[in-house]
Symmetry: C2
Subunit: 510 residues, 2 copies
Amino acid sequence: MLNRPALTPRTVRLHDQDNLVVAVEPIEIGSVVHGVTARERVPRGHKIAIAAIHQGEPVLKFGQIIGFASKPVEPGEWLHEHNVGMHDFSRDYHFAEDASSEAILPVEARATFEGFRRANGKVGTRNYLAILTSVNCSASVARFIAREVERSGLLDEYPNIDGVIPLVHGTGCAMDTKGEGYEVLKRTQWGYAANPNMAGVLMVGLGCEVFQIGRWKELYNIEESDTFRTMTIQDIGGTRKTVAAGVAAIRDMLPVANRARRETIPASELMLALQCGGSDGYSGITANPALGSAVDLLVRHGGTAILSETPEIYGAEHLLTRRAATREVGEKLVGLIDWWEDYTSRNNAEMNNNPSPGNKAGGLTTILEKSLGAAAKGGTTTLNGVYRYAEPVTAKGLVFMDTPGYDPVSATGQVAGGANILCFTTGRGSAYGCKPTPSIKLATNSEIYRRMIDDMDINCGDVLDGSTIQEKGREIFEAILKTASGQRTKSEEMGYGDAEFVPWQIGATM
Amino acid sequence: MLNRPALTPRTVRLHDQDNLVVAVEPIEIGSVVHGVTARERVPRGHKIAIAAIHQGEPVLKFGQIIGFASKPVEPGEWLHEHNVGMHDFSRDYHFAEDASSEAILPVEARATFEGFRRANGKVGTRNYLAILTSVNCSASVARFIAREVERSGLLDEYPNIDGVIPLVHGTGCAMDTKGEGYEVLKRTQWGYAANPNMAGVLMVGLGCEVFQIGRWKELYNIEESDTFRTMTIQDIGGTRKTVAAGVAAIRDMLPVANRARRETIPASELMLALQCGGSDGYSGITANPALGSAVDLLVRHGGTAILSETPEIYGAEHLLTRRAATREVGEKLVGLIDWWEDYTSRNNAEMNNNPSPGNKAGGLTTILEKSLGAAAKGGTTTLNGVYRYAEPVTAKGLVFMDTPGYDPVSATGQVAGGANILCFTTGRGSAYGCKPTPSIKLATNSEIYRRMIDDMDINCGDVLDGSTIQEKGREIFEAILKTASGQRTKSEEMGYGDAEFVPWQIGATM
Ligand SMILES: [Ca+2]
Ligand SMILES: [Ca+2]
Ligand SMILES: [Ca+2]
Ligand SMILES: [Ca+2]
Ligand SMILES: [Ca+2]
């Protein structure tokens, strides 16, 4: 009875083109998985070949190259450092050679959702009024205005409005006007003001801060209108008067904002932000590839998905440059990587995504495999654009936006870029939520799904029990459409999103 | 009738030992000010000598050296670049040579206030419960807990408690555990937990963040108690359960916190944070020196005042090192200046406090004069200690804490250092307020005082109309004692302080 092998050990096949599967539980010699008989013991989380791989041929996981066979591999062999190697990709960038033109469904064949079509043609999935702030010095006033509106009961008369959100932050002054931090803040504010989930925007400043609302309006050619107003505390003469003026401004916007109506819209108007936070050993084999499968579907239906978190794809950018639509797109990504190396070294920190000994014991063989576990949520399609933090995203299909890995900062950049829906994978259990962009939270394992059921929208842990990645991807795609149409996520039900607006701070606070 | 001189033009004498006064309005030739007849026209904001100054003798403003006569100066002469020069102080640091031991009143002669004596001997001026967060990922939960407590009406039963404050922030993860940013955050959190204005603290985390609550507790040897509790969302199992557990923890603290009673306490238990924001041409001649005069009084009564905003004293650190109690204190200040030069250059920014052409036209002659206008709020006593950002302040008398000039970030460091009261001078009009530390706002001019009357506590503009700096200093000192005893400031009445907790972010966000 000792060492009796599990006769049908559970495995996950991450992509149709893969020549391996991942062991969910240990595979003993002689067990049969995916029609092949195990020739060696394969530990939990490790990989077993399900096809012959000639020496030098690519080893495929997530449908992508994670390394090359360093010797001939027979079906049923354990795949790890002893038989999988990696070319030295360092600085060996190839551009666009793996790009393909995915078939995009014609408009009439696309999935649809019920969204708010804005005057500029963009489509919102929610209908919020926002109170933005130029500087921390007007943060309390912004929140006082939102509280007064809430207390007034005014919103009850306007059922088509999702709420009034004060989006405050800790910066906006004592910063270099020629620095990157200031550029990032200006873009972020513009992006929030322009996000299609906003029906109207009030921006409140103090008056003497570095972030001058007047100059920012000029820069972006923003005009005051019945859905865009600005004011400063110093101009108006203090807190109470500004709160009164702010409430009056919102009151004026409410009837205009309330006129918005949902209509049927093709899925090609969705811009999906991809996030992961609190990842675990399952992230790369359940929720991330399942989300990637949903992204492949969304791209097929003409939509856009934003992959981000530059530090987490570090070391695998070579794979993304090969998937880039053009050399220019690929080179922009390489430029970001160079910027990060400078940014971290200036700040006495380090970029390194090599698998740790713990990662290797857990089954990760190469840096490509590790970074692809994070990038898997972006799916497998061509990379059509690369954007700096908070830049407006204009390309369709899969794009990359430079952000830190830190969830609220990363998502803030994506929402500024125009994301009108967000999917967030988590293994340890995140409590993230966003306004104005609804966030669907995907648990990587069933235990955290059950433990944090108040926060989790979808369980991807059942991939370990036999659901396929493709099935899960379709489930996520359906949830995206329903959420975009107005179904509230767990984090929306609980009221998340006021505290999670965190523009990336770069540079010295003086 | 042309050019008829104002016969008694208004001037400000900033300190008893000064050999000059500042013109509030232009002084024409032949006008008599402070008993001397003007020999030259002196523009508004500029300086006129009221005593003879031999060549090489110091020119004194704020009772301190702002330069040296570059030629003999007669009473009634205009003092500016043509007759005032500055030695090259660069790298020429003298330590402690101007230090003196101020007479401190004996305990029984000290002014008193009504404060909350804590178990560790420190004294609070307010009695708050705080909800701290280790990371942005628990920010919403902290605010949900505070909102639930507020909605419950529970606080009505505990009249001695000033409120429950959620103090959330944008960082706590994706940071270098060996970096300065992390050190600063750990100190800030400890300082807020330990501030004597706190009756109790709940700290809420997510669980998987870089800022590990368990390790932080070990580092500071913090034990859980009936007024200190911690919890994480991942441990407890999601948002709703954590909010319930947090509300229960606060509910348990309320009766304990409510037992605190005000008692008569000597002013030596006051620790005053000094701030200025939105400064104008009057800051250096009205509110800042008036506050400095109050600080001199507070020091005489045995109290502590914290001067900060390192970028604003840049170039005049040589004067502070001379006033340092010991060489060690002075050298610590020089070390901070060197750190700032590195910090700004690493971030492609610059430190420079030289008077601009506009400053010079306005009457500022030297970098010393400019920086002393900012430092004037620290008064004239010996510098007894120099602290890094958010370090616990232990010295009595005047001390310096390294902070940026940016108000909320600077004040957050001071409150973490232990400040139980705060004075904030403003010319352009700040709307700052703080919890748990009451903030008295001092207008530098009567116009902004009137325009922003809902925000301003004290008008220092009347110094221009004949109130002396010393009278104003006594008024401020009295307001400090009353506020410390429970009288609410304008910003407290309006509910400021939840959004102004902004720990200094240093380093890369990964
Ligand atoms: Ca992340
Ligand atoms: Ca991650
Ligand atoms: Ca300041
Ligand atoms: Ca200042
Ligand atoms: Ca220096």
